[in-house]
């Protein structure tokens, strides 16, 4: 028997077991072959390339803006699902649910704060990510189409944030959506119709709340997930991040 317990050793032994191998389709990733398998033998990780340029890992190359935007999306999905357990998309129950989150639900305030901060930060970071990619020339061939997908991801992010804005059903939410959707009716010929369809009526009411809820919790997240998957996969297919000469030198 060993005299002291080693976490590293236990992990190594775990990776040798049949169960581990059956789940991950490999043993410990000690060689470059098994490290490659770790990537392309995994449904989720296979969106990433097996190898990346050392320079593209430098903080200055990307500031990890795309990665952090994606990680924020994960945080938002998890906190959003938890919030859905306490939420009814109905008037005025939606607002009462906000009060319940504040005064009744354990850590309800924290949950809502977390979701809200992550959402604001995601909008900010997705913008920053786009501008950063532009200034690095990351849209140039062969990355053209991935840039286009990125623009649609920005739109998806904005619509996700905007549809979520209505859900607390307070004055801030109601009037922000009223101001925003009034703009739609300025569209020539079809403006009024488009506004009617997006609100389920002529004014922001219970139908609009339900529509925004379904868009926010089902339709837009699904669109975003598909676009994110294509976006990551295209980074791999198009040959990795755009790197520049001085990316690994600090202060250049």
């Amino acid at each position: 028997m060993t005299t002291s317990f080693s976490f590293q050793g236990a992990l190594e032994r775990l990776r040798e077991t049949r169960v581990w191998r059956s789940i991950f389709r490999r043993g410990p990733a000690r060689t470059n072959r098994t490290r490659s398998l770790a990537i392309f033998g995994n449904l989720f990780l296979h969106l990433l390339p097996v190898k990346v340029r050392e320079k593209s890992l430098g903080v200055r190359a990307s500031y990890y803006l795309g990665s952090i935007s994606f990680l924020l999306f994960i945080v938002l999905v998890i906190s959003g699902i938890l919030l859905m357990f306490y939420y009814h998309p109905a008037s005025p129950q939606a607002y009462r649910d906000m009060k319940d989150l504040r005064f009744v639900v354990s850590n309800g305030v924290f949950l809502r704060n977390l979701h809200r901060i992550a959402a604001q930060l995601m909008v900010l970071l997705v913008f920053w990510h786009m501008f950063h990619v532009f200034y690095r020339g990351g849209y140039k061939p062969p990355h053209e189409f991935n840039w286009v997908i990125g623009v649609f991801l920005l739109l998806a992010t904005l619509f996700l944030s905007y549809t979520g804005y209505l859900l607390p059903w307070d004055q801030l939410a109601f009037w922000a959506i009223t101001v925003g959707t009034n703009i739609i009716s300025a569209m020539p010929a079809i403006g009024k119709k488009v506004r009617f369809i997006s609100l389920g009526g002529n004014r922001v009411g219970e139908n609009a709340l339900l529509r925004f809820y379904v868009l926010h919790c089902v339709v837009l997240p699904l669109i975003a997930i598909v676009l994110i998957a294509v976006h990551f996969w295209r980074v791999r297919k198009d040959g990795g991040l755009t790197v520049r000469e001085h990316d690994d030198e600090p202060g250049k």
Binding site: A29, R35, S36, A38, I39, L45, L48, V50, K51, V52, R53, E54, K55, Y64, S67, I68, L71, S91, P92, M98, R102, R112, N113, R116, I117, Q120, L121, F127, F134, Y135, G137, Y139, K140, P141, W147, V148, V151, L154, L155, S161, Y162, Y165, P168, W169, D170, Q171, L172, A173, F174, V179, G180, N182, I183, I184, A186, M187, P188, G205, G239, G240
Partner: protein, 238 residues
């Protein structure tokens, strides 16, 4: 080991295994695929990238939790269609548009400009002009200067005529920087050299970002009742 005369420089397989010995090496006259760029040193994604992303995730969650513990998401009174706040503001990322709506008719500010911005962003990579990123002032300096001047004067006149001051100021600032960079002598100072060597796309994007930031900040902090100008430190700001 080359024995087959007519097939000497061709890469390929012979079907006659008895006549042709098994080739170990092919020498081809054809050129090989061009290497377009040096990919540089590469490392395995697992663990190098995966571990970094995991660390980024942990740092991010810690930071988010820390902020979420001390900053509360706003919650106002129950939605009331009969009680309009003044001003009624959109979320912050649409306040730039709301600021534009103050100057231009809804069709222009609310529909045409956002549509053009999205179309403009989508087509950026399909403008194959100037892929190398040549500076604006490198070739045809005089002609480019006149074109820049023409567009600048037209924009300033249009914005001045519409009294769109919060668009006019950042536009004029970028215009001034462009003219300054035109007259900046080569290799004078690093900052001037930087401006002097920017391509046109850089100027357009920087102008767009500056206008968007100014409009958003003004819409968020400097607009009060009736969309009038207020100072953020004065009390009556809505």
């Amino acid at each position: 080991m080359m024995t087959n005369q007519e097939n000497k420089y061709e890469a390929g397989f012979s079907s006659n295994a008895k006549k042709d010995p098994v080739r170990v090496v092919f020498i081809s006259k054809k050129t090989s695929a061009t290497v377009t760029g040096d990919p540089g040193q590469q490392v395995m994604t697992y663990p190098h990238l995966v571990v970094r992303e995991a660390i980024a995730f942990m740092v991010l969650v810690i930071a988010l939790v820390a902020v979420a513990l001390f900053w509360d998401a706003p919650l106002e009174q129950l939605a009331n269609p009969l009680l309009t706040p003044n001003p009624a503001k959109a979320p912050w990322y649409f306040l730039g548009l709301q600021e534009l709506l103050h100057y231009f008719p809804p069709l222009v500010a609310g529909i045409i400009i956002p549509t053009l911005v999205v179309i403009g962003l989508v087509v950026i990579p399909y403008f194959s002009v100037n892929v190398q990123g040549k500076p604006l002032w490198s070739e045809d300096r005089k002609r480019n200067l006149w074109m820049v001047l023409f567009v600048l004067v037209a924009l300033v006149l249009l914005l001045g005529f519409s009294r769109a001051w919060t668009v006019l100021v950042p536009t004029a600032l970028i215009g001034a920087l462009m003219l300054y960079s035109y007259f900046a002598a080569a290799k004078s100072s690093p900052r001037r050299e930087y401006l002097r060597t920017r391509p046109l796309s850089w100027w357009i994007m920087t102008w767009f970002i500056l206008v968007a930031v100014v409009l958003t900040v003004v819409g968020t902090y400097f607009r009060g009742p009736g969309w009038s100008w207020v100072w953020p430190w004065s009390n009556h700001a809505g």
